[in-house]
């Protein structure tokens, strides 16, 4: 530096050394996610379950609806890997096919709650005033009803017919989970919007004359989304278990539909003598729930700057 630096206005050209390429917060999060083994384990499980849901025939060519009554309650063997259940169905095949119901319910209920809860949360947090008051009171009301109780009440009030189509029943379960699941996300979203809103970059955009929609889209949402994504991922696991519970109670999916909850329910009667019938569907159910919860945890760790 020479004499010219006495009035130095343009001298600060070097960035804090070392960071040569552009690094966004998202790419930082991704880098730390990549190093986390829990992330990879949960992703592997989730990919496996997704494949089961979409192409069950990839995993088995045994027809899950084919009952071999005389082999009922058979223990695991070379031709029926997980054994056979009370009706003589192949448990392996039925467990694979059962993934579809769980994944469908989990994924769609999560998408629906994110859309409804996210929108409500943004409206309440960003606009405030009476809109906030209304949304907050509504979420309070829904909050008072536990998810499972709400599900039971709803499904008991609108029971399934024996011949209701599969998708209608799945749709009903998704609907009830969405109705009772969005308030949690709305609250979460509202509070993160409230945290983001006072930041000067939001004020700067207002000062530039940006429309509310632009501010929400460009500034508020990208900075407020992370906690909701984490919780929505964890919720996905919760929804899967609630679906199984409803089916177990006989008010969600009912036979002949194939689902882990139905399988567990059927297995209970033979619990003492042939526990393997219960073991495999419950194991898959637990793994699926666990996988989503682990993924949520891993994502949270990656987005939380304090852990980095």
């Amino acid at each position: 530096m020479t004499e010219a630096s006495t009035i130095a206005v343009g001298a600060e050209t070097s960035a804090p050394a070392g960071h040569d390429e552009a690094r966004s917060l998202t790419s930082d999060a991704w880098r730390s996610l990549k190093k986390n083994p829990i992330f990879w384990v949960s992703m592997a499980l989730i990919v496996a379950f997704l494949l089961m849901a979409v192409w069950p025939s990839l995993f088995t060519n045994v027809d899950p609806a084919e009952a071999v009554l005389k082999q009922a309650r058979e223990r695991p063997s070379a031709n029926a890997w997980f054994g056979r259940d009370i009706q003589g169905y192949d448990i392996y095949s039925r467990t694979i096919y059962g993934a579809r119901a769980s994944i469908l319910v989990g994924v769609f209920a999560s998408i629906a709650t994110v859309l409804i809860g996210g929108a409500m949360g943004v409206i309440a947090g960003y606009y405030g005033g009476w809109l906030d008051a209304v949304v907050s009171r509504v979420t309070d009301i829904f909050f008072a009803i536990p998810l499972l109780l709400g599900g039971i009440l709803f499904m008991a009030t609108f029971p399934n017919d024996v011949d209701s189509p599969y998708l209608l029943v799945v749709g009903k379960v998704v609907l009830v989970l969405s109705i009772f699941g969005w308030p949690g996300l709305a609250r979460l979203m509202r509070s993160s919007v409230l945290q983001v809103k006072p930041n000067d970059y939001v004020q700067a955009a207002r000062a530039l004359g940006a429309t509310p929609w632009r501010i929400i889209r460009a500034h508020v949402l990208p900075n407020a989304l992370a906690p909701m994504i984490v919780v929505a991922t964890i919720n996905l696991g919760v929804f899967i278990s609630v679906e199984a519970t409803l089916s177990f109670l006989g008010i969600g999916l009912t036979p002949p539909a194939i689902s882990w909850g139905v399988a567990i329910s059927d297995a209970i009667v033979a619990l003492r003598t042939t526990p393997h019938i219960l073991l495999f569907p419950s194991l898959f159910l637990s793994l699926a729930v666990l996988a989503f919860i682990m993924l949520g945890d891993a994502v949270r760790d990656a987005f939380d700057p304090k852990s980095r």
Binding site: V9, E12, A15, P16, H19, A22, N199, D200, Q203, G209
Partner: protein, 366 residues
């Protein structure tokens, strides 16, 4: 005298305090309570005051980030608070802001290019889409950043560099007025001067008018042509830089000036210090009459009942605006004019070394 670009008249901003179960209004925080001033073309008006005096609220009112409770701002002949929709958006081009905290003023998920280019996205007719990248790079260059860093993210820059990014965004639309809300107070000492110099350079090159809000009286003196001193939502004194620093007539200004530590140990015992009693009262329940009377050593009964008006009062060498019933000039600090010194022998105009006090080491000293 240059003409005014912005005229604020009787600006008032009260924030309601709600209490009780029914969230009824139980009072007001009187953040800004009747402030009037003019900003002239090309000048820098400094606004100083301690925390809670309303200076930041004033800045937000001038930006119309808040709606005033009453009062008006006329910007370039247009009544700002009467504008709506498109007209208001157009007006916003001409008046921009630089924030205090370089860490919260930039969206962490946007690149520098997105941040500095956002003004062009919002006002697409300013620069054609094709020319925007170039325009952003020119702006980065202008504020002393490497134009090649356009794709980096804010967290890859230091505080001073981030403040430059914030300034680049502020001047992107070529505004007429830039409101600077404590733009250097979050920066390190050695970086502060860089940013202050940059702001002075930009003012010269772009003909900007600044409203420079700060609590640091030294920085404000350095950059301002005129200075307003605020106390509890009111303007206590307003005048030319020399009037305020050389011939302050309001007791609060005098106390404030006397409290500023000057980086010169030889002034230790020579500088008179007025120690004020107590703390600034709450703006939710400001004192009656003159708001300063609870801490003022000159206060009389009149001060408790009559609100002193901000009007021209004699200061010994002329007159300037002051809001004190008993306004009287008092020299607090001896000013040295160093503007004649050439850049080269910039020796901070230090005092005659012969007059130095004996130097002690240890307990006996001071």
């Amino acid at each position: 005298m240059a003409e005014a670009i912005l005229t604020a008249t009787d600006l008032v901003k009260y924030y309601p305090i709600k209490g009780g179960v029914l969230r009824r209004k139980v009072g007001d925080v009187k953040a800004v309570d009747g402030v009037s001033f003019e900003l002239l073309k090309g000048e820098t008006l400094g606004i100083v005051g301690e925390s809670g005096c309303g200076k930041s609220t004033l800045g937000r009112l001038l930006m119309r980030l808040e709606e005033p409770t009453s009062g008006s701002v006329v910007f370039d002949g247009v009544d700002m608070y009467a504008q709506k929709g498109r007209a208001m958006r157009k007006l916003r081009r001409d008046i921009q802001i630089v924030f205090q905290d370089p860490y919260t003023s930039l969206n962490p998920r946007k690149t520098v290019g997105d941040i500095v280019g956002e003004p062009f996205d919002i006002h697409p007719d300013v620069v054609p889409r094709k020319g925007r990248r170039k325009a952003v790079q020119d702006l980065l260059d202008l504020v002393g950043l490497n134009p090649e860093h356009i794709n980096r993210y804010p967290h890859q820059f230091s505080g001073g560099q981030r403040q430059r990014i914030g300034i680049a965004r502020g001047i992107a639309l070529n505004p007429k007025v830039l409101i600077c809300d404590e733009p250097v107070s979050a920066l390190d000492v050695s970086v502060q001067a860089q940013v202050v110099n940059l702001m002075e350079k930009l003012q010269d090159e772009l003909g900007l008018s600044y409203i420079f809000i700060a609590h640091d009286l030294s920085v404000v003196r350095h950059i301002s042509d005129r200075v307003g001193v605020m106390y509890l939502g009111k303007m206590a004194e307003l005048g030319e830089e020399d009037d305020i620093y050389g011939r302050p007539t309001h007791p609060y200004t005098q106390a404030l000036l006397s409290a500023v530590p000057v980086p010169d140990p030889t002034l230790r015992d020579k500088k008179e210090q007025i120690v004020l009693k107590g703390d600034v009262p709450s703006p939710a329940n400001p004192p009656s009459g003159c708001r300063f009377h609870t801490r003022c050593w000159k206060a009389q009964d009149k001060c408790k009942t009559d609100i002193p008006l901000l009007e021209l009062r004699p200061d010994g060498a002329g007159e300037h605006l002051s809001a004190c019933h008993f306004a009287q000039p008092r020299e607090i600090i001896e000013t040295i004019d160093v503007s004649d010194l050439a850049d080269g022998d910039l020796d901070t105009g230090r005092r005659d070394t012969a007059s130095l006090e004996p130097v002690g080491d240890g307990p006996a000293d001071s």
